[in-house]
Symmetry: C2
């Protein structure tokens, strides 16, 4: 970290942050989309890897990502709580992490989002300690890495630079209003 000290007086020195958006509220993935929105304006190359979401669905965010030339990978098989085949779910998480490692070490990106990456950690499909060790060794210093999802393990919070907990205060689903295009997806 001696380069970091040397650059302290530089207003624009680049320090790739590890950002975690966790909690039971809305806005974890949405705030990650907001970071893609910002990064794109700076012409920073960015990549999104979704660990849980599957290929199904026509999400607004995927179309915008195409327009902004943000690379996007849906690697999951749907929502965790719908898993019919836990071995398959685990296999897909491993596949997604293989892809994530390739993207992280490639040096091509300034921002990589690992969406809902906390679930494979929380459920033990991937080993949190091994992953943090790998990230400490391999994450490029100028890469911003954003991880979203509930139940962020404490070791991940300890490793991260910026952690926000999104807390549910009030949710319209509880009042019978279904998810709205442009808001929920």
């Amino acid at each position: 970290m001696s380069d970091l000290n040397a650059a302290q007086n530089h207003q624009d020195y680049v320090h790739g942050l590890v950002v975690v958006n966790t909690g039971n509220g809305k806005g974890k993935t949405t705030a990650a989309l907001g970071l893609l929105f910002r990064a794109s304006g700076h012409n920073q190359r960015a990549c999104m890897i979704q660990f849980i979401k599957s290929e199904d669905g026509q999400w607004g965010e995927v179309k915008t990502a195409e327009r902004l030339q943000i690379e996007w990978f849906k690697m999951g098989d749907g929502f965790v709580w719908n898993s019919q085949d836990i071995a398959e779910t685990r296999r897909k998480a491993l596949q997604a992490w293989d892809l994530a490692r390739q993207k992280i070490v490639s040096g091509l990106y300034r921002l990589v989002v690992l969406d809902e990456f906390t679930y494979p950690l929380h459920y033990g499909w991937l080993d949190t300690g091994e992953i943090i060790d790998w990230l400490r060794e391999h994450k490029p210093a100028d890469l911003h890495l954003v991880i979203t999802g509930r139940y962020a393990p404490q070791a991940l919070i300890d490793y991260a630079d910026l952690v926000t907990e999104m807390q549910l205060v009030k949710h319209p689903f509880k009042e019978g209003i279904p998810g709205q295009p442009g808001i929920e997806y």
Copy 2:
């Protein structure tokens, strides 16, 4: 609300939500950018009105908004805590609210973001009760209205459909790392 009841069985019926992102953590404005990101993919016309941020600065989000043809208005005179002239700050908040009302009633938008709108309410530059009364009467039923900022007044929370509190768990500024392009702006 009788139309709403009639549409209950429609999977895609549109119910414009009032969304509030508040709390002391990161991600309030960023999650609003994420909603712009989604809305754009659905070809929903959207508009951002910033109550505090001034014309200064070259933010990534403004450039992306141009690319996505999202209308963007910076109506403030900087950060609240830097205000040299409180009468001027108050005048600018009133101007921004005039613009917001025009945009809300225009019928042109599916999503309007009032960024950092909670501050004029919290500091009493605008009257929260009057504003909620106005919104109840004039907000189009299919318009999603997103309001961000700390210190959301309780009356606003009561009025809103979806409220999330972003809580700071860990912040890199505390460890001497300055704001990073693509993350903070």
